[in-house]
């Protein structure tokens, strides 16, 4: 994985900007390469946390009485 831009690769996957073949290859790699799967999980957690936090902040803003 050295030298590979894993960050961009995972972002491209999570934002659905890959072709079907690339997505399948990405998912196959998660199943066969434990270190890669571990990176994907760690990135997914962080991205999920950021999105979920943003959602809760927006939700609180929307619920404020007008």
């Amino acid at each position: 994985m050295a030298g590979e831009d894993i960050f961009t690769l995972i972002e491209t996957y999570l934002n659905n900007r890959m072709s079907e073949e690339e997505m399948q290859a990405f998912e196959r790699r998660c199943e066969t390469d434990p270190a890669f799967a571990c990176e994907v999980k760690a990135h997914t957690r962080a991205e999920y946390a950021a999105r979920s936090y943003a959602r809760s902040q927006r939700s609180a803003e929307l619920k404020k009485p007008v």
Binding site: M23, A37, V40, R45, A50, Y53, A54
Partner: protein, 194 residues
Amino acid sequence: MFGKKDSATDQEIMAGIRAGGVTRQRYENLFFLRNKEMVRLRPRKYRITEDDALDAYTEAFLAVVDHIVSGRFRGEASLKTYLSRIFRNKCVDQHRKNTTIPTDWAEEFPELPDPSRDFLKKLMGEERLERVSQFMEQLGQRCKDLLMLSAWGYSPAEIAEKMDFSTPHSASSQRHKCLAKLKEMMTGVEEFED
């Protein structure tokens, strides 16, 4: 491009939300307020309080916005009908909220096609993420703001303008750094050990 907001049609609301940035927030607010009556008229059979119904409504609303942005909702039904359907499901969730529900990892990635959403759920397994705000609160305010703007659909160019970055590329690069910081904070936490 956008007509008078008060009388905006579903198509105009969807286009406004897809436009991103400030326009998105304006049309979101309009769409949110226009259908908020659903909270008062909530299905009685679930016996949820008005506060819980407001939570359910807000969650349903944000899910619909995600579906509009990601293209999962293409206007097959009216926005109100679609929102009402999801609101009903969220009311059921509120009704069951005392039971343990595992984290739905696919929920925050509506852009992904169904097979990849299923793959992601399988990959993440039964992991639960309950301390989201605790991790986010440990980040600096600037990182928090940047990650939130990005999650709300602001483009790197809009973020650069709003947060005084010299170029959209600097905004993207700072976003990567903030996310890497968050990732590092969450790594090594017992509940996420692989």
